[in-house]
């Protein structure tokens, strides 16, 4: 059971860090922040890599392949679209704050 408990510690502590990081973001950035965070949630791609990269079970590999496709859409699309949005903000950054 210790593994699960340890993971729970990590989970709870990371959640607090997340709350602290995001608590005072200006409304202007809510959309890019959401889409950037969304891209980060595609981190599950790492799990997908592990599943698809093993050969001991063909069906699991196929599921892993689908998971990679899904997660990559999330990751690549998410980061790119966020960058597109933030690039527009960049042009006028003399007016920031």
């Amino acid at each position: 059971m210790s593994g699960l408990i340890f993971n729970l510690f990590i989970f709870v502590l990371a959640s607090f860090v997340g709350f602290e990081l995001i608590s005072k973001v200006p409304p202007t950035l809510h959309t890019p922040l959401m889409s950037g965070a969304n891209a980060i949630s595609g981190i599950t791609i790492i799990g997908a890599l592990v599943i698809a990269g093993q050969v001991d079970h063909e069906f699991a590999q196929i599921i892993g392949f689908m998971a990679i496709v899904f997660a990559t859409i999330n990751v690549v699309g998410g980061f790119m679209v966020t960058d597109r949005m933030l690039e527009m903000f960049k042009k006028k950054d003399k007016n920031d704050e």
Binding site: A48, L49, A60, G77
Partner: protein, 473 residues
């Protein structure tokens, strides 16, 4: 890939991998922190992408990974689709895009858990804690997957934006939720029972549909934000399944961020999360007040020339944009109108309601796209005192966020929602296609006020007509 490495490196490889995961985690945290400020946001996003890249590359060295064909194929296909979508999407369609990306992320997490379940071959070999996390990962991932697709459909208009409900729906959904949790428990007890496994999967997919269907279009910002949070938690759960801290931490960060944004959205609409999820709010018949057919009410229509004249002779004009502006893709023409007015010496400001658009902060993105300078954008609290000294307010495709019912009618579904106090201004001009109620589905008494004029038509056409007229004034 690990075959190519000398045995001495292979021996310490797991530790190296873990340390590099730790590095990626740090990069993520810094990236998210930088996303929180306009000056650093872009570099923050790029840092997060870098963190992801580091994580992916180092994972490929994992000794368990021995086949790369499918991995490469999957990454190529996924990148192609993701790139195409990200490049092609209109800024106005951003909420749909985020919703669908979200769905894919959640779906991937559910698939990872499923893949792990299948890979083991004999599920009875799995420890009960693994079975719990597999069950939860599939549950949350699947809800995110179908829920996001329904949200996408609603925003796109494939599915009615009105709440779709049936009697006893909340009770039924609650029953299903409890049911799946019981099934997760059952799976732990009897892992070889395939039926239980498939039931969890099936019910979770159904739950995603059933929980988002009853939510009205006006609440979509909240729903997308919440689903975003779910997709983070799903990733975190997938991390529990494959015992990977990088997944657990980054998933939790996203989960927390999503919850905060959800909370901000709810506050902006003066709603509780429970009310959003279970209230079936929004849509054409959710209001006690009648539709716009009351005969004793009259509206004053205006023309492009008239609007141009009124604005030209005003000292101060405030523009209140809403989703109608976005739908009409009129942000660029709006900028032209504003520029012309400024040339004529009129002071122009923009007042942005926190939930203008279909997503938190969406309107700011649209106006940024049209190069509207930041220093002309004002949040609701900042601009509300200004309306008293304003000559003309142009309300373009905004509806619910300027509805005085929110202040005056305790029975109204939007009662208590903070609104833009446009009625304080000397004159308001509402740009709208028709008198139909907005996303929240309630009539707006502002339209019938004596100080208000209506300019009917597509926002883009109307604004174009005004630029013409402004040339002639």
């Amino acid at each position: 890939m690990s075959d190519f490495l000398p045995p001495s490196v292979q021996a310490v490889l797991p530790n190296i991998i873990q340390l590099i995961y730790l590095l990626a985690t740090g990069v993520f945290i810094m990236g998210i922190k930088r996303l929180g400020s306009p000056a650093t946001a872009r570099s923050g996003n790029q840092m997060a992408a870098l963190g992801m890249f580091i994580g992916v590359v180092v994972t490929l060295f994992d000794q368990q990974i021995i086949s790369y064909e499918l991995i490469i194929a999957g990454i190529v296909v996924g990148s192609a689709i993701g790139t195409f979508a990200a490049k092609k999407v209109e800024m106005t369609a951003m909420p749909e895009m985020v919703a669908i990306f979200n769905g894919f992320g959640g779906g991937a997490s559910a698939l990872v858990a499923w893949g792990e379940f299948v890979r083991v071959g004999d599920p009875a070999m799995l420890a009960s804690q693994d079975l719990v996390t597999i069950g939860l990962s599939i549950l949350i991932g699947s809800i995110t997957f179908t829920g996001s697709f329904i949200a996408f459909g609603k925003l796109k208009g494939f599915i009615s934006g009105n709440p779709v409900t049936f009697p006893g729906q909340n009770f039924f959904n609650a029953l299903l939720t409890i049911g799946t949790l019981v099934l997760v428990g059952w799976l732990t007890y009897d892992p070889s029972n395939q039926l239980v496994f498939w039931l969890i999967f099936g019910i979770a997919l159904l739950l995603g549909i059933l929980t988002v269907m009853p939510i009205g279009g006006a609440d979509m910002p909240v729903v997308i934000s919440l689903l975003n949070s779910y997709s983070g938690i799903a990733a975190s759960m997938a991390g529990f399944v494959i015992n990977n801290n990088l997944l657990i931490i980054s998933g939790a960060l996203v989960g927390a961020a999503g919850l905060i944004l959800t909370n901000i959205m709810c506050k902006a609409m003066n709603r509780s999360l429970g009310n959003v999820l279970f209230g079936a709010f929004g849509g054409s018949d959710s209001s006690g007040s009648g539709p716009a057919t009351d005969t004793d009410k009259t509206v004053r229509e205006t023309t492009a020339d008239d609007v141009a004249i009124q604005c030209t002779y005003a000292n101060k004009v405030i523009i209140v944009p809403g989703y109608g502006l976005a739908v009409a893709q009129a942000q660029h023409v709006l900028k032209e109108v504003a520029d012309k007015l400024e040339q004529k010496g009129v002071e122009v400001k923009y007042g942005i309601h926190p939930v203008a658009g279909r997503m938190p902060g969406h309107m700011n993105v649209l106006l940024a796209e049209a190069d509207v300078p930041y220093d002309q954008l004002y949040d609701m609290e900042q601009i509300n005192p200004d309306f008293k000294s304003t000559d003309v307010v142009l309300i373009i495709g905004a509806n619910d966020v300027v509805n005085p019912t929110a202040k005056t009618e305790p029975g109204s579904p939007i009662y208590g929602m903070p609104i833009m106090n446009v009625a304080d201004a000397e004159r308001t001009i509402v740009f709208k296609r028709s008198l139909s109620p907005g996303f929240a589905g309630i009539d707006n008494p502002l339209f019938y006020k004596e100080s208000n004029q209506m300019f009917f038509g597509d926002a883009k056409d109307s604004l174009q007509a005004i630029t013409q007229s402004l040339n002639e004034v």
